[in-house]
């Protein structure tokens, strides 16, 4: 167990190293420097800028410097926002993204799982059909379409919620809805099929035959076992909620990291792109790690070992 956790942590470090390396060299493969623009800079200014940001160093030295920076949690200066560092950009956007992301995650779990359970327990009756129809639509319609349509109907036409920003608590409704829509549907479908499969297991019949109460059978034996596949996908769900925020934050004009990332792409702000990518990757790996550890609590049958040969 401890050996497994240590191995996982080591693997995370390797992955992070690979990500930093890959991102660094990808960004340096982009033709043109960060200060190439329509307006030609005078060579002296160009040289001064390059010297200030150490862009005249050989590539390996730049790489080592960057690596050292990342290790000391310094992602460097932004090339486009003068006087602002990538750390500051992330610190500015993080609370917004985290808040909407966390709310969306709560929605996914709090709505997706019960919907799936209701559908499975009423198999082939109207609640099942209703949930499945909604879930199929939710999986098929892209989030940005849901977002724009919801924005048009609820904000522009009906005026129930503000069209942008999070100053008002009602402003959270639409972004969270658009962000979580796909995953609520996905989790509902998954929970339904998983619970249906569990209900057919022999131990369910044993539990029933022992004369346990319906609630006990369902919750202790049925649900707990059927939720394992749901927990498995929660890691990727967190990942996708974060990357999904690119579009959602853009549409609702929320000042989160996703919007900064898209902006830095359109501005070709390479250090910002690089820094935010690495930050994202690190957050996601930690999330996936936490989710993997959650299995242990949920399913005593799973025993993690460090690759026993």
């Amino acid at each position: 167990m401890t050996a497994y956790v240590v191995q996982r942590l080591l693997l995370m470090l390797v992955t992070l190293f690979a990500i930093i390396t890959l991102t660094f060299f990808l960004m340096h493969a982009v033709p043109g420097g960060p200060f190439t623009s329509e307006k030609m800079l005078q060579p002296e200014i160009q040289a001064a800028l390059n010297a200030k940001y150490h862009l005249d160093d050989p590539l390996w030295l730049q790489y080592l410097n960057y690596l050292r920076g990342v290790l000391s949690l310094d992602l460097g200066p932004s090339f486009k926002y003068a006087g602002m560092s990538v750390n500051e950009i992330i610190a500015e956007g993080l609370p917004v993204t985290m808040k909407t992301g966390a709310l969306a995650l709560i929605c996914v779990v709090a709505l997706g799982v019960p919907l799936g359970i209701v559908a499975a327990l009423n198999r082939n009756r109207w609640p099942d059909t209703l949930v499945m129809v909604i879930a199929t639509i939710g999986v098929a319609v892209p989030s940005y379409v849901i977002a724009t349509v919801a924005l048009y109907v609820f904000a522009l036409r009906l005026g129930w919620v503000p069209t942008f920003g999070l100053d008002d608590w009602r402003g959270y409704f639409l972004p969270v809805f658009a962000l979580s829509g796909f995953w609520i549907s996905f989790i509902a479908r998954l929970a339904r099929s998983s619970l249906l499969e569990t209900l057919q297991q022999d131990y369910m019949m044993t539990a029933k035959a022992k004369g346990l109460k319906r609630g006990t059978v369902l919750f202790k034996h049925g649900l707990r076992n059927s939720l394992i596949p749901v927990v498995t996908v929660l890691g990727p769900v967190v990942a996708n909620l974060l990357t999904g925020s690119f579009v959602i934050e853009q549409i609702f004009a929320l000042p989160g990291i996703g919007r900064h990332f898209v902006l830095s792409i359109t501005n070709r702000d390479y250090t910002a792109i690089m820094g935010i990518t690495i930050f994202y990757a690190a957050v996601l790996m930690v999330m996936i790690f936490i989710v993997d550890m959650l299995y242990l609590v949920l399913d005593p049958r799973i025993k993690y070992r460090a690759d026993a040969k």
Partner: protein, 399 residues
């Protein structure tokens, strides 16, 4: 106890010939009542019986045909602009004005850009009507039809004659020159939609194919070699799968600059991990089979065993993964295009069409409908087909 049983006992009449002992017939026991089906015949039969899956397949075939032949048949091209006829809706309410000389003019009012367009009797949009006089203070425009005068109140969005009598609409008319209307640059929406289908589907199919080859090659090799090589190769897969791949698609797009080829490259080079895992799992179980040992004793080479014996037998799960990869590739492509990293204008994909429609959402909300519907229906179709294929290929569900 006995009393209750006798109460419920019902006399059943059994005919005497039922008591005759059965004859054992060796030939009859060997007779196979149902025709024997091979695995693939069985799969085809069950897939055929699955209505949503067949509906999905039918839709996909129609879509592919439309994407190939549609742009050839269309009167318009996807890039041809006509700024005078921009944002024309597919369906409008026409008005008719007859002057004293008897000449009738049919026209419609576009509430989005406050213009009047002349309409021919067959329903084609003939062109923009120029106001004779614009009164910006009163927010009114005057139009002259022969000797009649029509006043357009742009604030109230009302049409009336010069004497104040309101114009009565003369019924709905489908736009016959641009069946789905035009976009903000006056390009035909139908032509762009069909062209977008071409791009989106090509991106999806080619990217999936690239994924397929990388994944099958990688997973097949890892599974077949086994041992140390397998461990190392799967470790790499593990590392890759913890990386948020959408970010890498974006990074690759930034490096290669947006365009059709880089979208394909970016999506194709990143999403092969699942395929590799599935192929490896299949190969690992299959390579223990006797026929592989037989092939090896007869001197078949590793590539030959892999390509001729192992891969064909794992085609089922591969097929299911492929059908699920295509819609996610369409999704990713539209996602990329939406944040401005997709194909470059004037080329169109469903993603760019959606993002263009979102720009004009306030004035022309209906423009979002067509690209959004196209993506969603395609998603439905592929999901249904994939689910159906998985069910049909599942041996546990075999009857």
């Amino acid at each position: 106890m006995t009393d209750r049983m006798t109460d419920q006992t019902v006399a059943i009449e059994i005919a005497p010939e039922m008591w005759v002992p059965a004859t054992r017939d060796g030939a009859a026991a060997e007779y196979i009542a149902a025709p024997s089906l091979t695995f693939w015949q069985d799969v085809r039969k069950r897939l055929w019986a699955n209505k949503p899956a067949m509906l999905g397949l039918g839709f996909i075939i129609l879509l592919v045909l439309a994407a190939i032949f549609g742009p050839m048949l269309s009167r318009h091209t996807y890039f041809e602009q006509d700024l005078k006829l921009s944002n024309v809706p597919p369906l409008f309410q026409t008005y008719a004005v007859t002057d004293s000389a008897g000449a009738t003019t049919r026209f419609f009012f576009n509430s989005g850009n406050l213009n009047l367009y002349e309409v021919t009797p067959s329903g084609e949009v003939a062109g923009l009507l120029r106001p004779a006089k614009k009164d910006l203070i009163k927010k009114q425009q005057q139009f002259k039809f022969g000797d009649r005068e029509v006043v357009l109140d742009t604030a109230k969005q009302q049409l009336s004659f010069a004497d104040g009598a309101a114009l009565a609409p003369g019924g709905w008319q489908w736009n016959m020159s641009n069946l789905l209307g035009t976009d903000q640059l006056g390009r035909d929406v139908l032509a762009r939609q069909l062209y977008g289908a071409r791009i989106s589907l090509t991106v999806a199919f080619v990217a999936t194919l690239v994924n397929f080859f990388i994944g099958v090659f990688y997973g097949g090799l890892a599974g077949y070699l086994g041992g140390k090589a397998d461990t190392i190769m799967m470790r790499i897969v593990e590392v890759i799968s913890t990386i948020p791949l959408t970010l890498y698609v974006i990074l690759i797009m930034v490096v290669f600059n947006s365009g059709f080829l880089s979208v394909v490259l970016a999506i194709g080079s990143v999403y092969w991990v699942d395929m590799a895992r599935i192929v490896r799992g299949q190969i690992l179980t299959l390579k223990q089979q006797d026929y592989v040992a037989a092939a090896r004793t007869m001197g078949a080479s590793t590539p030959r065993i892999l390509v001729r014996h192992l891969l064909p037998n794992s085609v089922g799960p591969i097929l299911v993964t492929l059908t699920m990869l295509i819609p996610s590739a369409i999704f990713i492509e539209s996602f990329m295009s939406f944040i401005g990293l997709g194909v470059t204008p004037p080329e169109a994909s469903w993603g760019t069409l959606t993002s263009e429609a979102v720009e004009t959402l306030r004035a022309y909300p209906y423009q979002l409908f067509f690209p959004a519907a196209a993506i969603s229906l395609t998603m439905f179709a592929f999901n249904f087909l994939g689910d159906g294929l998985r069910d049909a290929l599942d041996p546990r569900l075999r009857t």
